[in-house]
């Protein structure tokens, strides 16, 4: 991590994202369709960020959208897809199959172990032996050694220190003390392991309020904070809102129709040429339309319908 001692981290989405250099090693918070920093990702696409190398565990629309938006050169993830929900990630799949994006498939355990080497300030981490998997052919930097203490063969993985962590969280004060509510996934680790972190939050609160609720990411690990309500949309940000399955369904439909359609009907409409995040919010239903996502906890029937519109 880097130490960011400033007591004022507040900035605009544009200012925060413009600090990310092209070609950076980036790590994205959240997981799958949950609490992805989608507003930050959309801004990266708008600013034409490119040649980024993404590392992470199991992800979905965040990585797929960065692939389509020209942000990524290399994807070093353990999983990129939409599970039983929507299946394969169309843009990621297409660009990897065309050889336009390099995929270095890895493993959830490996990535987190490598991030922890960075946290501990050591060049590599040992772990119990891993062998036999072709994932080792794609990750030739994973090696084995004889343990100098026990004389058993162990695996060693080099540290990974992302240049930028990007996460979406619930609350921050202006200093950048962050309160993240469960599920945490690996976000605390991702931030601690990275040189810099941009955090978009649902709400900026006073330092007094942050004292009351308690922070769980220290401000000095955070480079920049941006207030972006619904900043994880169309992924979820519980307890504030569930994911927007209808929107993701539209995304999937367009992405499966190929690059030209996705460019014209998704990227141009929902990502590029938008003056600010408010325009996006209005496009996807406005505060009123999105309020259905915030009512997930009214009862189990409501929650079920959000997760499977055809469910009773």
């Amino acid at each position: 991590m880097g130490i960011h001692s400033s007591k004022n981290k507040l900035c605009s989405l544009f200012e925060a994202v413009s600090q990310i250099e092209d070609g950076s090693l980036i790590a994205v918070g959240g997981n799958l369709s949950a609490r992805e920093p989608m507003a930050i990702i959309r801004e990266m696409i708008c600013q034409g960020k490119h040649d980024m190398h993404n590392i992470g565990g199991a992800h979905g629309i965040d990585v797929d959208l960065m692939c389509a938006g020209g942000v990524l050169k290399k994807v070093q993830n353990s999983y990129v897809g939409f599970e039983a929900d929507f299946g394969l990630a169309p843009n990621y799949r297409r660009l990897v199959e065309q050889g336009r994006i390099e995929s270095q498939d890895t493993d959830c355990v490996a990535i987190l172990t490598q991030l922890r080497a960075s946290v501990f300030g050591v060049p590599f981490m040992p772990m119990p032996l891993v062998k036999g998997t072709d994932i080792l052919k794609l990750n030739q930097e994973f090696k084995t050694m004889m343990c100098p203490y026990t004389d058993e063969e162990i695996s060693i993985l080099p540290a990974l220190k992302p240049d930028w962590a990007i996460i979406h969280a619930h609350k921050s004060d202006k200093k950048g003390n962050i309160r993240l509510f469960p599920p945490y996934f690996s976000d605390l680790l991702v931030v601690e392991a990275s040189r810099n972190a941009i955090v978009s939050v649902e709400e900026i609160v006073s330092e007094k309020e942050m004292d009351r609720i308690g922070a769980n990411i220290p401000y000095y690990e955070v480079t920049a904070v941006v207030e972006v309500p619904f900043g994880a949309h169309p992924t979820s940000c519980y307890p504030d809102y569930s994911y927007d399955r209808e929107h993701i369904s539209e995304y999937m439909k367009l992405a499966k129709q190929g690059e030209a359609t996705f460019e014209a009907k998704y990227l141009d409409k929902y990502v590029r040429n938008l003056k600010d995040h408010q325009i996006y919010i209005d496009l996807v239903g406005g505060k009123e339309g999105l309020s259905k996502l915030t009512k997930w906890n009214e009862d189990h029937g409501t929650w079920k319908r959000l997760l499977m519109p055809s469910a009773a």
Partner: protein, 283 residues
């Protein structure tokens, strides 16, 4: 619990029961990505024969969740319902590294005769024909967990455009995402891996274990109404066959009732072929 009105079961329910029975009382169990059927099995075990099993509900890392229904995307907070405490993803991997994870469930776009699984790519590294999503934690956790259960809802042969048979169960996977018992490079024992590997394969047609001497998949039971020939026609290699192969033990009515209560949206049925789901087995 009364099980009135439960007069039949379906293949997904039979599979969930077979998978649940691989969890023993007091086991530690994990499962994360793309897994409605294992979630069903894990919840079933914890509500029946393994009430003291310990389960971390996916990447959300909540301890012993009691979800009111099962989601299609495993990272949804429904998998945190009544979970306490909520940890961080690496806590579960640490436990696996310590050798304290008893069981996990893995599937594969391709599954070979030694139990190797492919979720990375179809084709080769030089010529990727289909990029699959990836194995998530299934590469490293398969080396660490005490055992794992393989499951597949696509034990079948389909025809390619050129009329060639395409199998999920193949002689050799295109890419070893998850190591079973043996690859061209050696065996689990030779390498000295901590985990014992797969001990049961549960499919929509039957169950398999592995012959200890050869590490080959061995047909153990057939689901009701199926013949050996039908299973072999759907399998791209010759599994070990014993003289007597039993019928898969059915679920109890109580197990079926718990499955339907646990998964009212029937996410466990996602991905099965309609013909498979249409089969009903009467009690």
């Amino acid at each position: 619990m009364s099980s009135n009105g439960i007069d039949y079961y379906t293949v997904d329910e039979l599979m969930a029961t077979c998978m649940a029975r691989t969890i023993k009382e007091g086991n530690t169990v994990y499962n994360a990505v793309a897994v409605p059927l294992p979630f069903t099995a894990i919840m079933l075990a914890s509500k029946t024969h393994a009430p003291n099993s310990i389960f971390w509900g996916g990447l959300l890392a909540g301890v012993n969740p009691r979800p009111p229904f099962l989601p299609q995307t495993s990272g949804d907070s429904v998998m945190l319902y009544h979970a306490n405490p909520v940890l961080h993803a690496h806590h579960i991997y640490d436990l696996a590294m310590r050798g304290e994870l008893d069981r996990i469930f893995f599937s594969g776009a391709q599954i070979d005769k030694y139990g190797n699984l492919n979720n990375t790519l179809i084709g080769s590294l030089d010529n990727i024909r289909i990029k699959l999503p990836g194995g998530a934690g299934a590469s490293h956790l398969a080396c660490l967990a005490r055992n794992y259960t393989i499951w597949s809802i696509r034990h079948e042969a389909t025809l390619s455009g050129k009329g060639k048979k395409i199998f999920t169960f193949v002689d050799q996977v295109d890419f070893v995402t998850t190591v079973g018992h043996k690859t061209p490079e050696g065996t689990r024992e030779e390498w000295g891996l901590r985990g014992g590997g797969p001990d049961l394969v549960v499919t929509n047609l039957g169950t398999f274990d592995f012959e200890p001497e050869t590490h080959l998949m061995r047909l153990k039971t057939m689901h009701p109404g199926l013949t050996r020939e039908e299973i072999l026609e759907s399998t791209g290699f010759e599994p070990v066959l014993s003289d007597s192969i039993a019928e898969t033990p059915p679920p109890t009515r109580e197990e079926v009732e718990i499955i339907r209560e646990t998964d009212p949206m029937e996410t466990r049925k996602l991905g099965f072929s309609p013909e498979t789901l249409a089969k009903r087995f009467d009690f």
